[in-house]
């Protein structure tokens, strides 16, 4: 059992790309669910919009990367509006069903053979991040301590990613301290009371959806640029459920808790994967019980179990406040 490898992998996972991506997705979801009480189960569609915005613009249409970023952001805003206008008058469980349906539609369209010329079908798009790595200021080499470290490309992605995370947290912090934030939190508590005060609840919800969507889509950009490859199946419902687990783990309605939740989530998953993998490899676990290829399934089972236990026993997560969670309304 190579414990050094296990620990180094866990530490790298804690600050790595996946953590950044899910932290950004969860920050967006925090604005939707944590602060406004909107049950948006289509967050993966926003990530897909950003990723395909970048990937398609560069790989299919040969335009510069910054244009792809602009398209991705615009597409996310449009998706938020399209999603919000018809559905924000619906009750929470209806909204959940509709947003899942919308995310599935987005994924199926990106995956379809009909649009294969533009979106690449089930293979997706590759090799579009050249411009991004061209402006990498870090010289070639490995940066780190001992076996823990990243090469210059990964370091560049992580720098940009964590900068975006910090920026998003700042935006959320400032927003939620402002009068706008107070109205939005009130909507979460009691919509009718806010309406009776003369506020346009529908408009506030729509704005919240757009802002959360744009913050979430930043995760899509990092995901696309880090791997320089996107496939439609990355953006299925599983991604949204992971983001919810991250959010609830950290604690909804707290500024930095999605980030902490993401770090803990990926450290735990990395530890589980690696420990089980090493145990199977070293023979501690017989292959009749678990084979090497089944280790990944344990990860999903853990996520499902964690989601259940969290919601039953500690819905406010690690840092959340019990009084602030939007889970008791029907």
């Amino acid at each position: 059992m190579n414990f050094e490898r296990i620990i180094v992998n866990a530490l790298e996972a804690g600050v790595g790309v996946e953590t950044v991506v899910f932290a950004l997705a969860a920050i967006g979801l925090n604005v939707h669910f944590g602060y406004t009480g909107l049950l948006n189960f289509g967050q993966s569609a926003f990530l897909a919009m950003a990723a395909y915005g970048v990937g398609t613009t560069v790989a299919t249409f040969d335009l510069p990367l910054w244009l792809g970023v602009v398209f991705g952001l615009t597409a996310s805003v449009v998706l938020a509006l399209l999603l919000g206008i018809p559905t924000l008058r619906l009750r929470a469980d209806y909204l959940a069903i509709v947003t899942i349906a919308a995310a599935e539609i987005v994924r199926l369209v990106f995956r379809s053979v009909t649009f294969e010329g533009t979106f690449g079908g089930s293979d997706g798009r590759q090799s579009f991040a050249g411009d991004f790595y061209a402006i990498n200021p870090y010289p070639v080499g490995d940066y780190g301590v001992g076996s823990f470290g990243f090469n210059e490309r990964a370091l560049w992605v992580l720098t940009v990613g964590w900068a975006l995370v910090a920026l998003s947290c700042l935006i959320v912090f400032l927003l939620m301290r402002s009068p706008w934030g107070r109205v939005v939190k009130a909507i979460r508590e009691d919509e009718d009371a806010v309406r009776s005060l003369g506020k346009n609840v529908y408009s506030y919800k729509l704005q919240s959806l757009v802002i959360g969507g744009v913050l979430g889509c930043l995760g899509g950009f990092i995901l696309a640029l880090a791997r320089s490859s996107i496939q439609p199946d990355i953006f299925g419902t599983e991604t949204t459920f992971f983001a919810y687990t991250v959010l609830i783990l950290g604690g909804a309605a707290r500024v930095a808790s999605p980030v902490v939740g993401a770090m803990i989530f990926w450290v735990v998953l990395s530890l589980t994967d690696n420990i089980l993998g090493e145990a199977v490899g070293a023979g501690y676990i017989p292959s009749s019980v678990l084979t090497a290829s089944q280790v990944g399934q344990i990860r999903f089972m853990l996520v499902g179990l964690a989601l259940m236990l969290l919601m039953i026993f500690r819905p406010q997560g690690i840092f959340g406040d019990r009084r602030e969670i939007a889970l008791d309304a029907r």
Binding site: T87, A92, A101, S112
Partner: protein, 434 residues
């Protein structure tokens, strides 16, 4: 679907046979060559075309002409690899025999080392059988009806669970999958984990035992998880997220136990289609539809005519009032869970018969079940039935106009549209849903 593919493959095969013969039988030991058979489809037979001229031109000024013999076969030995052009002289074809595509009389043929390559010139009219739109529509409607009935079984359970408890059960798809998987384990005898394999049991017996086990699972769901949560006062959104977690847990547990490949029930493999007018389905498809109809009618009868059914409808309508009038709400909910799980399990078995069993079977139709239930009216069993039939028919018949891969998009689009126009669904009561 299966039979349409079979018909197409059969005609493609016969078209190939027309002009190629079974070229695999011809294998030269050394030296490359190009060859072919010219046969004209006439009166259901493939008549060889003798005396036609084929010219092969190639690199290094290679040019050779061959004439088809009495069997319609021609051969040109090239003895080198390279890119060759094969041209059929259309004037040399006998009267009444024409190339199917007169512009395609010249083909580019690359030859690899040691290769004897057959070349295809299609003669005569295309023998592909193309169904008219109407018979296609009829076939699709039949398949849509079958699919809709299967979804209806699952949707009725989901709708009743929502009506009586308010829970939007995202793990319902997994109940469907569990039913399909248990049916497979019992029917084939390959039990998971450490349980001993046995020879497999009679399929009907396996289904019956599956339903009993599903009833137990439904009881366990309510007794072990949902009733304690209700007692604690867990909110409905929290319960919904718990059901999402349960769904993920069950799905990957099934992946672990069942494996990742799609399997089929041993008793239902390789069935010939039975034609009923323009519709061709296998006998087991008709039986599945029959079972689904009978079970749904039984459920409808139970809901309408029995005391328990009346109590269920009362609890689904207004639990507090039903409790005040003396109905044991917890018992009703327990029975709804048992029945809902059994119906979902039956849906899983029928779905497994129709399209194979995999750990994702239920999850893939979960959104369609939601669409059906929402379309018909969340909380009413008859609404779920109507909604399911509409969704099932829409999905299959829409493939006449939209590409098959996007058929789910159509159904999901309908869901969103309905929620805009008539949020309570077709049979739901007009209450505010937002």
């Amino acid at each position: 679907m299966r039979t349409r593919v079979a018909v197409f493959l059969a005609t493609l095969l016969s078209a190939l046979v027309c002009v190629l013969g079974v070229g695999a039988g011809v294998a030269h030991a050394e030296g490359e060559s190009i060859f072919g058979f010219l046969k004209n489809p006439k009166g259901g037979e493939n008549v060889p075309v003798p005396g036609a001229t084929v010219t092969v031109k190639g690199p290094g000024g290679f040019s050779e002409t061959a004439t088809t013999d009495a069997d319609g076969r021609w051969t040109v030995e090239t003895n080198t690899a390279g890119n060759f052009t094969v041209t059929l002289d259309q004037d040399s074809l006998p009267k009444g025999v024409t190339l199917r595509n007169p512009d395609a009389d010249s083909l580019k043929v690359p030859i690899a080392e040691g290769q004897d390559k057959p070349v295809l010139f299609a003669l005569g009219k295309s023998t592909r059988v193309i169904q008219s739109k109407w018979s296609q529509a009829a076939q699709l409607s039949a398949e849509g009806l079958r699919f809709g009935l299967i979804i209806a079984l699952a949707a009725v359970g989901l709708s009743l669970i929502f009506g009586t408890t308010g829970l939007t059960n995202f793990a319902h798809g997994e109940l469907v999958t569990v039913g399909a998987v248990i049916g497979w384990w019992l029917g084939s005898g390959n039990l998971p984990l450490f349980l001993p394999d046995f020879g497999g049991m009679n399929f009907v017996l396996a289904i019956a035992l599956t339903l009993v086990l599903m009833g137990l699972i439904g009881w366990a769901n309510d007794a072990g998880l949902w009733r304690p949560l209700r007692r604690r006062g867990t909110g409905l959104i929290a319960a919904m997220i718990v059901s999402i977690g349960l769904g993920i847990l069950l799905r990957y547990l099934l992946l672990y136990l069942f494996g990742g490949q799609t399997r089929s029930y041993p008793a239902t493999r390789g069935q010939k289609g039975v034609e009923l007018g323009p519709i061709t389905l296998s006998p087991i498809d008709y039986i599945s539809m029959g079972i689904a109809v009978v079970v749904l009618m039984a459920v409808a009868f139970a809901l309408l005519r029995t005391r328990l059914g009346k109590a269920t409808r009362a609890v689904a309508d207004n639990p507090a009032l039903a409790s005040a009038s003396g109905i044991d709400v917890d018992a009703v909910i327990r029975i709804v869970w048992i029945a809902g799980a059994m119906l979902a399990g039956l849906a899983g078995v029928l779905l497994g018969i129709a399209q194979g069993i995999s750990f994702q079977t239920g999850f893939q139709i979960l959104l369609l079940i939601f669409a059906a239930v929402t379309l018909g009216g969340l909380g009413t069993a008859f609404g779920a039935l109507v909604g399911s039939l509409v969704v099932g028919l829409f999905i299959t018949v829409s493939t006449l106009v939209i590409p098959a891969e996007l058929k789910n998009v159509g159904a999901l689009g309908i869901l969103i549209l309905i929620l805009l126009v008539r949020p309570q669904g077709i049979l739901g009561r007009a209450q505010r849903v937002g």
